[in-house]
């Protein structure tokens, strides 16, 4: 029973990965001066360490992922709490708030592009007429960055809401009643009871969202194209630019490997910091 799974995993997962690893140690640009694969040792990796574009891209990506995921978790939690309450139209809002999830990222990017393009988009128009603010993400790097974050929040907060809502719904109600009897106020109940009880769900969501945010490509590509300058040229986009327009396959592969490695290390560090340490304390 296991054999087909392993075979499929091998063909679709491991083989391409090994191939990328293989390419990463070569210089290979089929449309360059020398179209053949030339063994290059760790040359690509050495080049990466001094590639300032790559390093800026890491910094921007981390910043982007941090702001996006952080806001999504906070906002998602608040929305989940809202949907726990009884109010007219709750079922309706619960349903429509998940709509962004079913839109393809490329479409999300296009829509936001349309909404933000100066002179035709609704957002610059409203900002201009209400606040007299000129929004031009083609020129304003900070605004472009902010918009990619906002777009990501818009797209992915419902996912966080859904997972946290599921977690909240499944909580037993007795500890909350006991906490009230014990004299805890709302904030204390949140901190001492709710948060510890939905911790696993929060962590799972943070990991999923973090890994997703670190490899965002299509939405940002549609919205800003990575610009202005390199302000929104996040890692996924950065690799894409090396591999496709520049057809520098060897270097792109090496970048991919390093990004994969960085993501793993980061998640592992987070895991150790947030989960494993607690886990040890639990076993007396």
């Amino acid at each position: 029973m296991l054999a087909p799974t392993i075979a499929i995993l091998g063909i679709f997962g491991i083989v391409p990965f090994l191939y990328v690893l293989y390419v990463a140690f070569h210089q290979w640009n089929p449309f360059g001066a020398n179209p053949y694969m030339i063994y290059n040792g760790a040359g690509n990796f050495r080049r990466l360490v001094f590639d300032s574009e790559f390093l800026t891209s890491i910094a921007f990506t981390l910043k982007f992922a941090f702001f996006a995921v952080f806001s999504e978790v906070i906002l998602g939690y608040l929305l989940a709490q809202l949907f726990m309450r009884e109010f007219p139209g709750r079922a309706f809002f619960r349903t429509i708030h998940t709509l962004p999830l079913i839109v393809a990222p490329i479409v999300v990017g296009s829509v936001w592009r349309l909404m933000t393009t100066p002179s035709i988009g609704i957002i610059p128009y409203l900002l201009k007429s209400w606040f007299g603010y000129d929004l031009n993400i083609g020129r304003d790097a900070t605004m472009a960055f902010a918009l990619t974050v906002i777009m990501d929040i818009w797209h992915w907060t419902p996912l966080v809401t859904l997972t946290l809502l599921a977690a909240l719904v499944s909580l037993p109600k007795e500890p909350f009643e006991q906490a009230q009897i014990d004299g805890a106020n709302r904030w204390q109940i949140f901190w001492h009871v709710t948060l510890p009880m939905i911790r696993p769900a929060i962590l799972a969501t943070v990991f999923i969202r973090l890994m997703d945010a670190l490899r965002t490509v299509d939405e940002v590509w549609m919205l800003t194209g990575g610009g202005p300058g390199a302000a929104t040229r996040y890692l996924g986009l950065h690799i894409w630019k090396i591999v496709f327009p520049k057809t520098d396959y060897g270097y792109g592969s090496a970048t991919s490997i390093i990004v994969l490695y960085l993501t793993l290390v980061m998640c592992w560090l987070l895991y150790v910091a947030l989960v494993a340490r607690r886990g040890q304390r639990r076993t007396p």
């Binding site: 037993p172 906490a179 009897i181 014990d182 001492h192 510890p196 007396p284």
Partner: protein, 353 residues
């Protein structure tokens, strides 16, 4: 410490009314036990006193203050839930100390109180465990411990001993009684177990279907049940009930069952011919040579006493006697009913006559 007053309390869940105008007065320092069959509204009433359940109508006050709109956290009560309600992510010590921590008490004081409670409840070795690593009885004791570490105005207990084994239950019963004597705090206690009710309470409230049937001291309820329900509910094994009517013979009042058995019924305030229910507790029936003949159907010796299930004429009756009996099922015994211990109830209303 405080008195608790429950005035015309009504509880509705949507269109379903589960509590129908309950009145209970609980004096300061009193140990009151709510008993009644499952689903009669004991937990609901307790939860309304705690503030966890909104009150549909009526008024509850604690210590002279109407608390209808006071949040549970401001009522200064400790509660033990029927299903423990432990914090799953906190160990035993943190579970017990949480209320003190919330109040901002110094750590040394919390530790001391938790340790003392753990000693009383024999939880000393379990302080580092998490609820999922405990048995049902241990969890229940942790829940008790959480209440004990506090010094509230009122303790509310919802069947706190239901999951303990017989021996531990007796020990905890004594423990709770001692706690009450030591602290003198008002206690409202829900139970199914009428031994608990009889042995611990200053006052028992018997409930049925969201109504109070009778309130009184344990022995008072035992001796003078106000109606058939209370008579059948208080006392174990339950009172014998025989349907029939009152008649007179030789100028003396007697009871004639529907199946024709004649039983003594002196001194009841019933008219001749009235349809009644005749009640006699098993422990008030003796076996003597001059008694009424009955046929034994089952014998249940427990060592200290023997319960005899018998047929008296056409009516089933059971008796508890201290002696070891040598009779066998199918044989005859002679039962003597203590006429002073007979209870007569009106058949239609169930009220005591």
């Amino acid at each position: 410490m405080a008195q608790v007053t429950v005035r015309n309390i009504v509880k509705r869940y949507g269109s379903v009314q589960v509590i129908h105008g309950v009145n209970v007065d609980i004096a300061d320092g009193e140990f009151v036990i709510l008993v009644g069959p499952s689903g009669c509204g004991k937990s609901t009433l307790l939860r309304m006193i705690a503030g966890l359940e909104p009150i549909s109508d009526g008024e509850i006050s604690i210590g002279g203050r109407v608390v209808n709109d006071v949040l549970p956290k401001d009522r200064d009560i400790a509660m033990v839930f029927q299903n423990y309600a432990l914090y799953p992510h906190k160990n035993v010590a943190d579970n017990m100390g949480f209320s003190l921590k919330i109040k901002g008490r110094p750590k040394a004081e919390i530790d001391a109180k938790v340790k003392k409670a753990a000693e009383i409840l024999d939880l000393g070795k379990l302080l580092d465990r998490f609820p999922k690593q405990l048995s049902g009885g241990q969890r229940q004791r942790v829940a008790m411990g959480r209440a004990i570490v506090r010094d509230p105005q009122v303790f509310l207990f919802d069947e706190p001993l239901s999951n303990l084994d017989a021996k531990l239950r007796v020990a905890m019963r004594v423990e709770i009684k001692e706690l009450h004597q030591r602290l003198g705090t008002t206690i409202v206690y829900v139970t199914h177990d009428q031994i608990e009710a009889m042995t611990m309470a200053d006052k028992i409230v018997v409930m049925r279907d969201g109504k109070v049937e009778q309130i009184g001291a344990p022995l008072n309820l035992y001796d003078n049940p106000g109606n058939v329900f209370v008579a059948g509910f208080i006392g174990s094994p339950a009172m014998n009930f025989i349907k029939g009517s009152i008649d007179s013979k030789d100028g003396e009042q007697i009871f004639v069952s529907d199946t024709g058995t004649v039983l003594p019924a002196g001194g009841v305030k019933a008219q001749g011919g009235q349809q009644v229910i005749y009640g006699i507790r098993p422990e008030h029936i003796d076996i003597t040579p001059d008694g009424l003949p009955a046929t034994v159907s089952v014998l249940e010796p427990t060592g200290s006493e023997t319960q005899v299930f018998a047929k008296l004429g056409g009516d089933a009756i059971d008796a508890i006697v201290k002696d070891r009996l040598t009779v066998r099922p199918g044989e005859e015994v002679r039962l003597r009913i203590d006429p002073r211990r007979v209870h007569i109830f009106d058949r239609r209303s169930g009220a005591r006559l």
